[in-house]
């Protein structure tokens, strides 16, 4: 039953938070966005709603919290089942979408952050190489999943579009800071046009972070993470 107020605890810069918001926009569900001021420490509400990981995003429906962005997207799709659907309707296609989303989270995005925090050329090169390998895989996956349409989900934005597209901001920042092209016409032409379509989609454009603001934030954040990693 889709009753009860919906809140999202998050921050403007987090790709995982973006995912939850895009899914709610797709379903035209009204919600209150509560910005966690991460520099001021975690709020009581966050700690209470996600005691296991203490991380954003948290979706709170009525008084019940849902954690982990990919689980949140599926919850939204299950709870507001009217069209458009976010997960594919075919079980095999669902399994494929879940596979790639997990790959992006567990293997690919860590290589993006490794490039950000690397302080040696070797480490940076290794991270970039891993990113490129992953993008080649996603280019191929796009061909198979989209079946000639504009999104991984077909005619409409779906689960894998949201999972992957939410990383585009940080991908672009990585390209800018390192002076490289990762999603480009030569290597990943399908992803180039997909990215444009995704970023200009009505459900996405208001929550895609401003590029300059994200770049400045990255330049400030990466040295801090590097320093923390160094002290372990």
């Amino acid at each position: 039953m889709a009753t009860g107020e919906v809140k999202v605890l998050g921050s403007w810069s987090s790709p995982y938070v973006m995912r939850a918001r895009i899914a709610l926009h797709i379903k035209s569900v009204n919600y209150k966005f509560i910005e966690e001021k991460l520099s001021e420490g975690k709020s009581e509400l966050l700690l209470k709603s996600n005691p296991v990981y203490k991380k954003i995003p948290v979706l709170i429906h009525g008084d019940k919290p849902v954690n982990e962005s990919l689980i949140i997207i599926q919850y939204i799709d299950d709870t507001w089942p009217s069209a458009p659907s976010i997960l594919p309707s075919d079980p095999y296609e669902r399994a494929v979408a879940r596979f790639w989303a997990a790959y992006l989270d567990e293997k690919w995005f860590p290589s993006v952050t490794s490039v950000g925090i690397a302080d040696e050329e070797e480490a940076k090169k290794a991270g970039i190489s891993q990113m490129e390998e992953g993008l080649a895989l996603m280019e191929e996956a796009f061909g198979k999943c989209s079946k000639g349409k504009g999104f991984f989900g077909g005619d409409e934005i779906g689960f894998l579009d949201i999972a992957f597209g939410s990383f585009l901001g940080w991908l672009r920042v990585t390209e800018k800071i390192n002076g490289i092209g990762l999603i480009d016409e030569a290597k990943t032409p399908a992803l180039v046009s997909w990215a444009e379509r995704f970023c200009s989609h009505a459900a996405v454009k208001d929550v895609m972070p401003d590029f300059d603001k994200l770049t400045e934030f990255g330049k400030m954040l990466f040295p801090k993470i590097r320093a923390l990693a160094g002290t372990r």
Binding site: I71, I72, P91, Y92, A102, L137
Partner: protein, 219 residues
């Protein structure tokens, strides 16, 4: 629909056991193929080119990779019997959360217990028990994590039970002493044929771990 179900697996794998349990719960006939992980078959490399790992579920020639994906796929395709995920969407999200928690924590911590010694091992043991206690909290007074019925989180976690003996021997501690409710739950699950037939024998797992320690040069 049950034509052509093949499982590429490796007998001690807790991940493979999850898929075996799900297939057994749904009474699906399938072909089990044991992989030699030092000499992976062409079929495995072709069906899981990204990770090259077991288990791989092949249904009508198409691969499904990653054990929790496989369990969800089996639940969705054979949706006329023995449901594993709850119908209620909030309970479903909760089940996914705890299965994901098992994935994020239990394997790595368990591995650390048998692979390391001294301070590192003690730290792994402590965190491992803390995680099991969180799971005990989630189980509460229920028969299963699924409530009255055996479900998704039960499938995700119970395969680790056959590895507990090896962890205890290597880490010199008793999991039952720290988490009696969880062990009681595991024994309850072992009463189910689908679980008893899918889990490996704990002594054989311990022998396997001792063999791995030799191979990796771990004392």
């Amino acid at each position: 629909m049950e034509r052509g179900v093949v499982l590429l697996d490796f007998w001690p794998s807790m991940f493979g056991m999850r898929t075996r349990i799900a297939l057994a719960e749904k009474e699906i006939k399938y072909e089990y193929r044991e992989e030699d992980l030092r000499n992976k078959s062409d079929l495995l490399l072709q069906m899981n080119p990204v990770h090259k790992k077991i288990p791989v579920l092949i249904h009508n020639g198409k691969p499904v990779c990653e054990s929790l994906n496989q369990v969800q796929y089996i639940d969705e395709v054979w949706n006329d019997r023995a449901p594993l995920l709850p119908a209620n969407t909030y309970k479903r999200a909760n089940a996914r959360f705890w299965a994901d928690f098992v994935d994020k924590k239990i394997y790595d911590l368990g591995s650390k217990i048998w692979r390391t010694k001294g301070e590192e091992q003690e730290a792994a043991k402590k965190e491992f028990i803390d995680c099991l206690k969180l799971l005990e909290g989630e189980l509460g007074d229920n028969h299963y994590f699924g409530g009255k019925d055996f479900g998704y989180v039960d499938v995700a976690l119970v395969p680790f039970y056959c590895w507990f003996y090896a962890y205890e021997q290597c880490g010199n501690f008793s999991i039952e002493a720290e988490c009696p409710k969880l062990i009681a739950w595991a024994k309850r699950c072992m009463q189910k044929e689908s679980v008893a037939k899918s889990l490996a024998d704990q002594e054989k797992i311990y022998e396997f771990v001792l063999h791995l320690k030799k191979v990796f040069g771990i004392e």
